[in-house]
């Protein structure tokens, strides 16, 4: 992302009425007014709430940093963090690696029907998370799901994907990979298309094979894009809510095996109405995401300057 503003040459000083001095401020003011009320104020307010014991019904009681202290030894919070990281470790490589693989293939001019394939891979992106989760809960169901039918026909045992604790994260991984691989594909394709094809062609003429071109030319040039995508996937994973909510409900499923941070945050704040505790949790998660966004911005800036 380009943070620097290009200096515009001044044309026609046009010293008219003060309107054209005032106009730009008027034009940008709606953003700042709305942001002050619904963006900045909540952040400050949230910080204060997080220092209070505040449930929906009772008035807030100031308790200092106790919410934060309790959070760091809250088994649910630690479990949610752990589950989220595990989810990320599996879905990240799949979506990013898969997206890159598909992008490299679709960037190859020898491959035909590229537009058709691309359209197919983008299709899941238009589906809402709720719809996607519903369809997967049907597909993965036991015994009436299509997955289990395939397993049974292949001679395997039927599996209770949705209630077997050890499979909860796997279910989320499958759903996320299906839903988001198109997103990574968009990013990777945009990155690949900015690499001049002559580079690879020159190397091929010099006797390099396709694999060498990929490892020694394409991949190094794609590094900033891949980094950007990694950060993006990380942030997205920390915000995942609708999928586990649909598949495992607010409880997080059997033995909370599907409990991720987004689910716990919602549950704390809006099922139990622990506003103080929820705000403290949001702050800790926000801090993690903020640090990641900083990296993302840095990487993105470097990318556009290139």
């Amino acid at each position: 992302m380009d943070v620097k503003v290009l200096e515009m040459p001044v044309t026609a000083p046009a010293r008219r009425i003060r309107w054209d001095k005032l106009a730009p401020y008027l034009f940008i003011s709606p953003f700042f007014i709305i942001f002050l009320i619904f963006g900045l104020f909540p952040i400050v307010f949230s910080g204060w709430i997080s220092l209070n014991d505040w449930t929906g019904l009772n008035p807030p009681v100031f308790i200092g940093l106790n919410n934060y202290r309790n959070l760091l030894k809250d088994p649910d919070f630690l479990l949610a963090l752990r589950n989220t990281v595990v989810l990320l470790l599996f879905s990240g490589p799949l979506t990013i690696g898969g997206g890159l693989l598909l992008a490299v293939i679709l960037n190859n001019r020898l491959v035909r029907f590229r537009n058709v394939f691309r359209t197919i891979f983008y299709l899941p992106l238009v589906v809402s998370l709720i719809v996607a989760s519903q369809v997967f809960s049907l597909l993965l169901g036991n015994p009436f799901g299509l997955f289990n039918e395939v397993l049974a026909r292949l001679g395997f045992q039927r599996v209770s994907f949705l209630t077997e604790p050890s499979l909860a994260i796997l279910v989320l991984v499958i759903l996320i990979t299906w839903k988001y691989i198109g997103n990574d594909l968009v990013i990777m394709l945009a990155g690949l298309q900015s690499i001049p094809p002559e580079l690879g062609e020159a190397a091929l003429v010099d006797g390099a094979n396709a694999r060498q071109v990929f490892w020694h030319i394409t991949l190094p040039l794609m590094r900033p894009v891949i980094l950007f995508d990694i950060v993006l996937s990380t942030i997205n994973t920390f915000n995942i809510f609708a999928e586990p909510y649909t598949l495992f409900s607010l409880s997080g499923g059997v033995r909370q095996s599907g409990l991720v941070t987004g689910l716990l945050l919602y549950r704390t704040s809006f099922q139990f109405f622990k506003f103080g505790y929820g705000s403290a949790m949001a702050y800790i998660l926000g801090l993690i995401i903020f640090v990641l966004s900083l990296i993302q911005l840095r990487v993105g800036t470097r990318e556009t300057e290139r």
Partner: protein, 285 residues
């Protein structure tokens, strides 16, 4: 002689490699499409045929009953209408405000411009999850709970939209604006009559992005909406799933099909802008 045999081997290797690529593509495309197919055929099956072993790949007794039930027994049609309204307002409001601000940042020199623009971009880094609780308390206190306003007003401050529009505004020639000024157009008139028509493609991509986000939004409706007659379509689908104790997959799949129809139509008709919008969206998330 040797050369040619190497060439033939090369070509054969190339064809083999290309074949492998097609296999990957076809398998991936198949996996991509299976859930769509399953959603579609399940929506035409009576519940008994959905919950049966062995699973049937083609509906043995296709019926439109699910759709009929959905439209008569639930508030689904109403929720489609609600979502369309909310998404429509979001599109109008955000394209207007973003292009206006983008215009100001690109085409005016004013004090603190750079600082203000950096501030706009900086707002993107604030994690939305932190705003959820305080905004809920705020909305409760100003009486906005169970209205669509929390789904519309806060999202109107769209920093990425401003960034996006600003980039396009640079391509508007200053001479065009100066000519407009000479003709006596007001500053807002310049924006309305000169800038807006020129930047239509960028506006289109932004509009699509806003529409998709708004149509698929789930968390905000879940937090703020209470009365069923105000539900958005995502919230309604989610509630069909959890309200009752029996299985509702027949209704769910019919609802899913209808809920993705507007998006699919948009996607099919304006694919190019859509992809631009997706790229914009991937930057945002």
């Amino acid at each position: 002689m040797r050369e040619t045999s190497v060439h033939i081997a090369d070509r054969r290797a190339q064809r083999l490699a290309l074949g492998a690529l097609y296999v990957i593509l076809v398998v991936a495309a198949f996996l991509s499409l299976v859930p769509f197919y399953w959603m579609l055929i399940s929506s035409f099956k009576p519940l008994n045929d959905i919950l049966t072993i062995p699973v049937t790949l083609v509906p043995p007794r296709p019926t439109l009953e699910n759709y009929q039930l959905l439209l008569t027994q639930t508030k689904f049609a109403q929720s489609m209408f609600n979502t369309l309204f909310v998404a429509g307002v979001n599109v109008l409001l955000q394209t207007f405000l973003c292009s206006l601000a983008g215009f100001a940042f690109a085409k005016y020199r004013f004090r603190w411009r750079n600082l203000l623009f950096t501030l706009v971009l900086g707002t993107v880094m604030i994690p939305a999850s932190v705003q959820l609780v305080p905004n809920y308390i705020l909305m409760a206190n100003i009486g906005w709970l169970d209205t669509w306003l929390p789904l519309i007003i806060p999202t109107a401050a769209n920093a990425f939209g401003i960034f996006w529009m600003r980039q396009y505004m640079y391509s508007v020639p200053d001479e065009l604006l100066d000519a407009g000024r000479l003709d006596g157009a007001s500053e807002f008139g310049l924006y309305w009559r000169i800038v807006l028509p020129v930047t239509r493609p960028a506006l289109g991509a932004l509009a699509l992005f806003v529409f998709t986000t708004s149509w698929n939004e789930f968390l905000l409706p879940l937090v703020y909406l209470r009365s069923e007659e105000r539900y958005t379509v995502q919230l309604l689908i989610s509630n069909i799933f959890r309200q009752r104790f029996q299985q509702n997959f027949h209704l769910l799949m019919a609802a899913s099909v209808l809920a993705i129809i507007p998006m699919t139509i948009l996607f099919a008709t304006v694919q190019r802008q859509f992809i631009a919008g997706l790229t914009l969206g991937s930057l945002k998330e």
